[in-house]
Point group: C2
DNA sequence: ACCCTGCCTTGACAAAAGTCAAAATATCAA
DNA sequence: TTGATATTTTGACTTTTGTCAAGGCAGGGT
């Protein structure tokens, strides 16, 4: 069952806690371009991507800048907004037809109050996301445009296929022209 | 009392949990250049900086690259290593004489087992650090060398005084020459 | 098929930042 | 204070990436 795939590779959770959590999940069949979160609104859900993919982006100075891609098996939300309960600066949209599960902020907090195991699971997920972000940041400091592209190809090849050149370029912090040149010289 | 400053602005913690946590803390009077964590070793402590400051850095391709500065009132550890229990790639050192408190990984886990409030506090701290990292990452995507410097001056002016040009430059992802030129034109 | 339209690629040039080397300045110990 | 050493600044030049403009290519609707 896909819903429980959520818990794979994560610390042990009691059946009770697991069932409570699953009980709160809502399934979403999302078409390509479905907006999980919208800039200007408070992020009210934590999403789990069972199938498909998504990208998070900011609009600033009329530029659309992708800050992350999320794939199957990952959680995603507009973290800043979700945590601070203030309007989001970012928008999150699916890159393709996707199967999502979401839990609301309130219900997640309710889970934490009731089940310490779930708070622990969430904490461990947060830790993983933190170190992933740290790695991404460090890697971007050491690499040239070409190396950044090669690393993305290696680590998230699926992104290369599904995202547009514009999305990939802004994610890798270069222009589409530079990306185009990089690709032509591989 | 400084130790309890740790808990300010953080969710309510029961006296019992607070005392247990404080009981595990070790005080460290660190001179300038004291190594909190060393590359190649597993990070065993979470540090709280009561007074002073620190920087985390990587050595790669013979370059010393600063990835973060930490100030009074902040927690710091080589997060990747601390979480995964594998050797650290980063080294953390004080930038000046500092007063630190540290708790070992084992004792922190013990606290989490015993007191849900402490796991919650840790979770909330993690959340704050996550969004801070996210912001730092996003901001670096939008800004030029000069803007990055101006933003650092505004947000962490203390760093400008205490860290060397080399540290600041690598943190801001530019060479010391570029930084020097940026500074001369303000 | 045809023309849109949007997206991607290519080219010429410009701007930003990096590299290397030398000079200036600061730091520190004797 | 002086000299030795390390750090910072400055200058000339190179490399990388960005900008602007033109052209190519693919898919959708008529």
């Amino acid at each position: 069952m896909i819903k429980t795939g959520l818990f794979e590779n994560i610390a042990e959770v009691s059946d009770e806690a697991r069932n409570a959590f699953i009980g709160y999940l809502e399934e979403i069949q999302a078409e390509k371009g479905y907006k999980l979160e919208k800039a200007g609104e408070v992020s009210n859900y934590l999403f789990y991507i069972a199938q498909g993919s998504a990208r998070s982006f900011y609009i600033r100075d009329n530029r659309d800048i992708t800050v992350s891609f999320s794939l199957e098996g990952e959680f995603v939300t507009a973290m800043h907004s979700f945590i601070t309960r203030s309007p989001s600066y970012e928008t999150i949209e699916t890159l393709e037809k996707s199967l999502l599960y979401r839990i609301s902020y309130e219900n997640l907090q309710r889970c934490f109050q009731e089940f310490q195991d779930l708070e622990r699971v969430y904490r461990i997920i947060l830790e993983k996301y933190y170190i992933a972000l740290e790695e991404q940041m460090i890697f971007s400091k050491f690499k040239s445009a070409k190396e950044r592209y090669l690393e993305l190809m290696e680590k998230k090849p699926k992104i290369i296929q599904r995202a547009s050149v514009g999305h990939i370029a802004s994610f890798l912090d270069m222009t589409i022209e530079t990306l185009s040149r990089v690709r032509s010289k591989i």
